[in-house]
């Protein structure tokens, strides 16, 4: 399967990365190189093989459904590019 500039633009949009139109052909070419490499996986017989979910056979641990931390508003906001009145500030989302 070959990637054209239209698919490259769609992938960039899905990834929320702005790519200018004139950069799309080079991006599509790179995708094709990498996907061409990945294509080898089609040779492997994976009939009846389970996809790996955990490299170590283990059940994820559970803990009590209880509050274990909190009350750290200042610490949570300390690295925000824009924080106001105890909240993260972003451009208007709802018209």
């Amino acid at each position: 399967m070959s990637i054209d500039t239209k698919i490259a633009a769609r992938v960039a949009k899905l990834a929320r990365i702005r790519v200018e139109d004139d950069a799309l052909p080079a991006l599509a070419a790179e995708f094709n190189t990498i996907l061409g490499f990945i294509e080898q996986l089609a040779e492997v017989d994976v009939e009846g093989v389970e996809p790996m979910t955990s490299v170590t056979p283990m059940r994820l641990p559970r803990r009590a459904d209880a509050v274990t931390d909190g009350g750290q508003q200042a610490a949570v906001l300390s690295n925000a590019p824009d924080a106001r009145e105890g909240f993260f500030a972003v451009p208007k989302v709802v018209e």
């Binding site: 990365i17 790519v19 490499f37 093989v49 170590t56 949570v76």
Partner: protein, 495 residues
């Protein structure tokens, strides 16, 4: 005493405990070495004052007696580890100005043991790279050069700053992380030792995530013994990482007897790549002979799915990265793009990520997005996870058949020149990880040891792969190999 920065962790520990030296002196020697090594671009965030304070605390503890082995030992910390109150930006522009409010579990453990942080170390952006050329701080430089040639070489990647700093004696040891070879390849390129432990040994909490099912932290040191000492201080169960193993941590150093008689060492035929350089072939054969002379039984083995490890990795790692790196959106931390009038939140995300991420990170995030997108998920992502199951099964079968450890080359070549791969396509760079990436996919421990030099005098390393959770036995095999190889060369100081 001069040149204290050249000590091993083991020797420094013994001298500190005897009171022959102080951590303050040791730390000062390292800070002086760092100051004179700007050309290596290994240290990227300086914490000299913090180091002096930590050394003073360590000296008080040492005087009181009963201090842990790592007490007073000056270390470099890879920029991927979040360190409280100290810039931690994973060598990315998108985390510019980020100062964590918390400490990673691994660095907490090292600091609780009394280790001293000298500063933060250069790396590839978000640990994505094999040459330290994707860093926002610029390239780290290998202290080694080819004989009679002053071309700057890569220290490898992604833990390139860690490797350069240890090889140049700027610190006694350094933390690294390894997702596809990022501890082992740079260790091999710089003539030092590095171990990626079993997945789950070291907590991932507070380590900036790249591909969560593959990422592991580990030590990068001057000797195998030092790796055993430092690894012991880094690992252990952490409830804050749901994949952290709730298992006791053995005394790895106590397991270094050097006796490997009767151990079965597997030599996998699939690692004999077409076009493998003769010097790598010879290195591997020499290493095999050394282990045999030390009493091990050498057995030819087959790991039939090896060929598919790299393509599976370049589906799984970008897929996980695209998910992990979704958090860099310009809202909670790091860089936010300047917006034009009328820009909404989508423009903010898109511009922030285009400005903040470098080219390789953007490429991998987009490849990951593609392989996870509707219509391709089964063909790429699920298929890669099935191949991963088969790769792990290959290893399980040889271990069940009685193999104790597997010997392979660490890298397909010696360190290459910075910029030399610039015109190659991305896949050429990915081939650097051909011998190391299987270990991450199978969750196994792997260690590289320097065992020889190429015709141009550059260090070359071999890798030993062990059974899960048996880092102690693995390090003991590495110790036997280190003793037999007797690699003691150091780079000539030009910086």
């Amino acid at each position: 005493m001069s040149d204290l920065n050249k000590l091993t962790i083991a020797d420094a520990r013994d001298s500190l405990r005897k009171g022959d030296i102080t951590s303050a002196e040791l730390t000062e020697a390292c800070l002086t070495a760092i100051e004179g090594a700007g050309a290596l671009n290994a240290f990227v965030h300086d914490t000299a004052q913090m180091a002096r304070d930590m050394a003073a605390d360590a000296d008080r503890r040492l005087q009181a007696g009963d201090a842990p082995g790592m007490c007073g030992i000056p270390l470099g910390i890879k920029d991927l580890f979040c360190t409280k109150g100290v810039a931690s930006q994973a060598a990315s522009g998108i985390l510019e100005g980020f100062v964590p409010e918390y400490e990673s579990t691994v660095t907490s453990k090292l600091f609780e043991a009394g280790s001293v942080m000298l500063g933060k170390l250069n790396m590839d952006e978000f640990a994505m790279g094999s040459s330290n050329e994707t860093s926002v701080y610029g390239n780290a430089v290998n202290p080694w050069r080819r004989a009679g040639d002053d071309a700057a070489l890569t220290p490898g990647g992604s833990s390139g700053g860690s490797a350069a700093a240890v090889a140049a004696d700027l610190c006694l040891g350094a933390t690294g992380t390894d997702t596809g070879g990022s501890i082992r390849q740079p260790a091999a390129f710089t003539g030092i030792t590095g171990i990626k432990p079993t997945y789950g040994r070291c907590s991932r909490w507070g380590v900036v995530a790249f591909a969560s099912s593959l990422d592991q932290a580990g030590p990068m040191t001057k000797t195998v013994r030092d790796s055993a000492i430092m690894l012991g201080a880094m690992c252990g169960h952490d409830p804050k990482d749901s994949t952290s193993a709730d298992m006791p941590v053995p005394d790895f150093e106590a397991m270094l007897s050097g006796d490997i008689s009767g151990k079965v060492i597997g030599i996998p035929k699939e690692y004999r790549m077409d076009g493998m350089p003769a010097e790598i072939e010879k290195l591997w054969a020499d290493g095999t002979a050394m282990l045999k002379d030390a009493g091990a039984e050498i057995r030819d083995i087959s790991l039939p799915h090896t060929k598919y490890a790299l393509p599976a990795y370049y589906v799984i790692a970008p897929a996980e990265a695209s998910s992990n790196l979704a958090r860099y959106d310009g809202v909670r931390y790091g860089h936010r793009a300047k917006l034009a009038p009328g820009d909404g939140i989508t423009e903010m995300y898109e511009k922030t990520r285009a400005e903040g991420f470098g080219a390789e990170v953007q490429r991998r995030v987009m490849v990951g997005t593609y392989v996870l997108s509707a219509g391709f998920y089964d063909a790429y992502y699920n298929r890669a996870r099935k191949v991963r199951t088969l790769i792990k099964r290959d290893f399980e079968q040889v271990f069940e058949a009685g193999v104790d450890a597997i010997l392979t080359p660490a890298t397909p070549s010696a360190a290459f020149g910075l910029g030399e791969m610039a015109s190659a396509d991305p896949v050429q760079m990915y081939l650097n990880d051909v011998f190391t990436v299987t270990v991450n996919l199978a969750g196994l421990p792997g260690v590289t040891v320097p065992t020889g030099r190429n015709a141009q005098g550059l260090p070359l390393g071999l890798q030993l792969i062990g059974r899960p959770w048996e880092e102690g036995d693995l390090l003991n095999c590495a110790y036997a190999l280190e003793q037999a190889a007797g690699f003691v060369a150091k780079p000539d100081k030009w910086w």
